[in-house]
Symmetry: C3
Subunit: 134 residues, 3 copies
C-alpha cells in the first residue's frame, strides 16, 4: 500500500475543483502500482469529494447552485460557527471515494472526473491518496 497526499488552496466559499490530473500525476510519477485501486479521502468536515462530469464545468456550477438553494447559509443554525450548511453538504457528497486502477489507468467513465468540493473556503486543504496493489 502506498500513501501519497497533496495540498489545495481554495479561492472562494464554494468551489468544485477538478483533481483528476493531480491523481493521474501521482499514479504516473510517484507510484509503481498498475493494477488495484486507489482510495481518495480528505480530513475535512466542511468539504467533500465526488465523481461527476468534467466535460462541461457548468455542471459543477449547477451542483453548487442546487445545494445552496436546498441548504441555505442563512438558516438559523445552533452551531456557533454558522457554517452548518457546509457540514451538511460534506456528509451529502461524502469525504472519500475509491477508483479501480487497471493497467495504470483510472477506471473512470468517459465523462467522469474527480472533484474536491469546497463548501466553506477559501482554505488550505489536503487530499490523501492511498494506492493498493491488486
Amino acid at each position: 500500500m502506498e500513501s501519497h497526499n497533496f495540498f489545495l488552496q481554495t479561492n472562494t466559499r464554494e468551489e468544485m475543483i477538478d483533481i483528476t490530473e493531480e491523481i493521474k500525476e501521482i499514479l504516473q510519477k510517484k507510484s509503481s502500482i498498475r493494477n488495484g485501486y486507489i482510495k481518495i479521502s480528505i480530513p475535512h468536515t466542511t468539504a467533500g469529494v465526488t465523481i461527476n462530469e468534467n466535460a462541461d464545468r457548468a455542471v459543477e456550477n449547477d451542483i453548487l447552485h442546487i445545494l445552496r438553494k436546498i441548504i441555505p447559509k442563512s438558516r438559523d443554525y445552533s452551531h456557533a460557527e454558522g457554517n452548518s450548511d457546509a457540514h451538511m453538504k460534506s456528509s451529502l457528497m461524502g469525504t472519500r471515494v475509491d477508483i479501480m486502477l487497471e493497467h495504470g489507468q483510472l477506471k473512470l467513465g468517459r465523462w467522469q472526473g474527480i472533484f474536491f468540493c469546497e463548501f466553506d473556503g477559501p482554505r488550505s486543504r489536503k487530499v490523501y491518496v492511498n494506492i493498493f496493489k491488486e
Copy 2:
C-alpha cells in the same frame, strides 16, 4: 482480483432497478472467491448506485419522488443539456458501493438490496463488479 461487468437497459427517465440478483449470479456462476468484498461502480454521471429496502418497491418510488421534489428538472440550469438535476442526484446517491462477501454470501441486511438509480434515461448503462479475495 476479478473484473466482471454487465449491461442494463433503462426504460424511463427515472428508475431504481434492483440489481441484487445480477450481482449474486456473478458471484455464483463466474467467481471463485468466497470471502472478501465486492466493489460495484458505474462509469456514468447521471446515474447512481445505492443500497436500500427491496421488500416493498414503494420505497423506491418514494425516493424518486422525494428527489424530484427537492431537485426539480425545470430549474434554470447553466449546463446546456438541461439535465443538471440528474448530475446532482448522481453525486447525492453516489456511483459506487462496497459489500463484504462471507462464505459466498453478500453481507447485506435482511431488507437490503442493491439498486442502480437511473436519473436521465432511458439509456444503455453499464455496471462494473470487482471482486477481491480476503
Copy 3:
C-alpha cells in the same frame, strides 16, 4: 481480514451517535492489524453512517434539522410504513464508510468523528467493522 461487530440502542426517532470510541476500542483490544483500513457498514435501510465534526455536537443537531426540513416525515408516501423519509436519508448519508489505518491509528482529520445516523428509532442497531491488513 477480521470481522467484528457491535450493537447500539438508539433512543429517539432521529439521532446521530458518535461511534468513534467504539471503533477505536475494537482496534486496540480486539485487533492485531496496525496498518491497512477498516470498512464500517450497517445492515439497516433507515439509518446511515457518516463522518463529520465531533467537536461541537450542535453540528449534528443542525444536520438532523436540515434533513428534516428538506425531507419532511409528513409527506404523502406510497410506502405503507410511512417512513420513506428515513429510507431517503439513509441513501443520502450512505450506509458504509472506509477509513485508513496507519500505525494503529485511524487516519481521521482533527475534527472528524464517525457517526451512526438513526432516522427511524428508537431501535436496536448493529454495526459491522471489517479490518483489512495492508
